[in-house]
Symmetry: C2
Subunit: 108 residues, 2 copies
DNA sequence: ATTATTAATCGTAATATTGCAATAAATAAA
DNA sequence: TTTATTTATTGCAATATTACGATTAATAAT
């Protein structure tokens, strides 16, 4: 096995899990921290800032791009990455919808 | 490799990533949805409700317990699981602190 | 045209995760 | 005590993730 059975869960459950999974690596949190803090967002800067090899950073950027949290614009030989604010707000709303569900009475 | 280099990230980055990682599986989201909605929270109910084998559910419960989102109380042969409200609120606060960071000017 | 710079992709090794059958452990019921 | 019932643990196969060296692709500079 080793294969998540997505088909038995709701669309929303899969969606929340997918977002959370992408946020579930410190390198990707560090990338987002950096992109949120600075407007400078060239890939090479992230490599220097974070201290992982360039292909590794590139891979993490790809994941973040895949779910739409960031976008990249080619500028000569470099690529300028930044938060995709519209998608990011959407994603935050989805997460908050889950986080704001309130538990009822507990049995323990 | 295949081993996350936690030591190069901040404590907060690792913390957020760990929480997100645990939320990064639809079965665990489904378990939380169920625990939030109902007060009945015996492990066997989750097995029936979710449709994964008992050892699989047990493993997911263990993960959720490890980061403190849920707790379990033994009741005879069954175990009553529920949200650990205090920890859950703490975790939500940590996530919200990250989610509420606002990006500055974009270059793309 | 050649060379440098920058980022993406490929290939691969190490490790982690997911899922379940089989089994163990622990209490309840008979 | 024996038998159910319920959950945890173990062991394992399949798959996914993480990380990076080597290479490629694409533009810029000379």
């Amino acid at each position: 096995m080793g294969l998540t059975k997505s088909e038995i869960f709701t669309k929303e459950q899969n969606q929340i899990a997918e977002i959370a999974k992408v946020l579930g690596h410190p390198a990707r949190i560090a990338i987002l921290d950096f992109l949120i803090k600075l407007q400078s967002c060239v890939c090479g800067d992230l490599v220097k800032e974070i201290g992982l090899a360039q292909p590794t950073i590139s891979q993490h950027l790809k994941e973040l791009k895949r779910v739409g949290i960031i976008k990249g614009k080619i500028e000569g030989t470099s690529v300028c990455y930044c938060i995709d604010e519209e998608n990011w707000n959407q994603i935050k709303a989805t997460l908050n919808h889950f986080l704001n569900k309130n538990p009822t009475e507990n049995c323990c």
